[in-house]
Amino acid sequence: MTKDENNGGIKRMVNPNRFGIERIAYLLMRLTGLGLLGYFIAHVYETSNILRGRMGWDDFLAMTQTTEGHIFLVLVIGMCVFHTGNGIRIMLGHGGVGVGKPARPDYPYDPASQNYRHKIGIYSSIVLAAAAMMYGMAVMFGE
């Protein structure tokens, strides 16, 4: 604990406990965003191997044909699908779409912005990501 701020920093930012599925979606969005950024950098490095000629290209591509490579690609598929689905939900929300209407609040003050539409959006993104990962596993490990 610091004297000046008492900010929890990243440790508190990534703690999804006690704030519902929306906070878990927030955490997953950050993690998948970082994961996709890492994949993007790795992808640029991977494709740059074509400068080493066909042999170099094939050697590097062989890494993705291993079990570890397949698991990595399955994770990339999951991250991509969740980030896309949840991203569309968040973009709509950021424009004020589907976040409810202002109204005089009644106890127990359930927030209208955390409504079933957004919850369905989050759960759908998770289910779609899981389905895409399973399909990816079936294709890559089913050979």
Binding site: E22, I90, H94, P102, P111
Partner: protein, 255 residues
């Protein structure tokens, strides 16, 4: 009447017999002398209507009067007694021990606020940010210069902002916000919700001023719609809704 008295007399022993005990863990920290916080534990009897604030005051009265806690109205109106109760920002006067459904109640100072001592935190930054967004009706004309003595509004126009006028500035939303955990310069959900409160007010003519204030790197764009602010608000203000509407104005989705 006799029957009512008789019933009350019969119920009194039952109510007393339902008294339970809870282990109250209070975070103790003095920035002037301590390097880290530590917990002190007290076993406190409670009834189903006992609030966390009453339990803390029980500790101050019977065990340790040096526990620092800020409180005033005891009815969720003044916004003074915000703290982390079992890890979640809540008002101590508005949280009954029985509703926590736990044998252990842990109270800590709110996150994202400097600690004065124990459970009391500094609100200067909260109030500064609130002041920054100009929380008042801005108009070119004044009552003195106009024949019209009131700025009339329809009920529909009032509905647009009245929910956000319920803010008691308790700081729970800022404490729950994940962005504020890493960016102390972020304007925060409290101030942003209040910016919307005045932007949505049909009497107000200061929209451009306010939107310019929040349209900056530590302003509205740092909100990622985690929604934790709305989940902890004890007055149903729903800051996340107001922030998204504000962003809708800035993005041109709303007029």
């Amino acid at each position: 009447m006799a029957q009512v008295s008789s019933t009350a007399d019969e119920q009194a022993p039952n109510l007393l017999s339902t008294s339970k005990s809870v282990l109250l863990k209070i975070s103790r920290f003095n920035p002037e002398s301590d390097d880290s916080s530590k917990f002190m534990e007290f076993s406190i009897p409670y009834q189903k209507w006992t609030t966390v604030l009453e339990a803390i005051l029980d500790v101050k009265k019977h065990f340790d009067h040096s526990v620092a806690v800020r409180y005033s109205c005891r009815q969720a109106t003044c916004g003074s007694c915000g703290m982390l109760i079992n890890g979640k920002p809540r008002l101590a006067c508005f949280t009954k021990i029985s509703e926590l459904d736990s044998d252990v109640v842990t109270v800590e100072p709110m996150n994202n606020f400097p600690v004065i001592r124990d459970l009391a935190v500094r609100f200067e930054k909260l109030f500064d940010k609130h002041q920054k967004i100009k929380p008042y009706v801005i108009r070119d004309d004044t009552e003195l210069e106009s024949d019209q003595r009131e700025f009339l509004q329809s009920p529909e126009e009032v509905e647009q902002y009245i929910q956000f006028a319920n803010c008691i500035k308790c700081g729970l939303c800022n404490s729950a916000c994940p962005t504020m955990a890493t960016d102390s310069s972020f304007v925060g959900p409290q101030a942003l919700a209040q910016a919307y409160r005045y932007v949505a007010d049909s009497r107000d003519k200061g929209n451009d001023d306010r939107l310019n204030i929040i349209d900056e790197s530590h302003g509205i764009w740092r909100c990622h719609f985690a929604g934790s602010c709305s989940q902890v608000c004890p007055k149903g203000v729903d800051p996340a809704m107001g922030i998204q509407f504000l962003r809708g104005y800035l993005l041109g989705f709303r007029n």
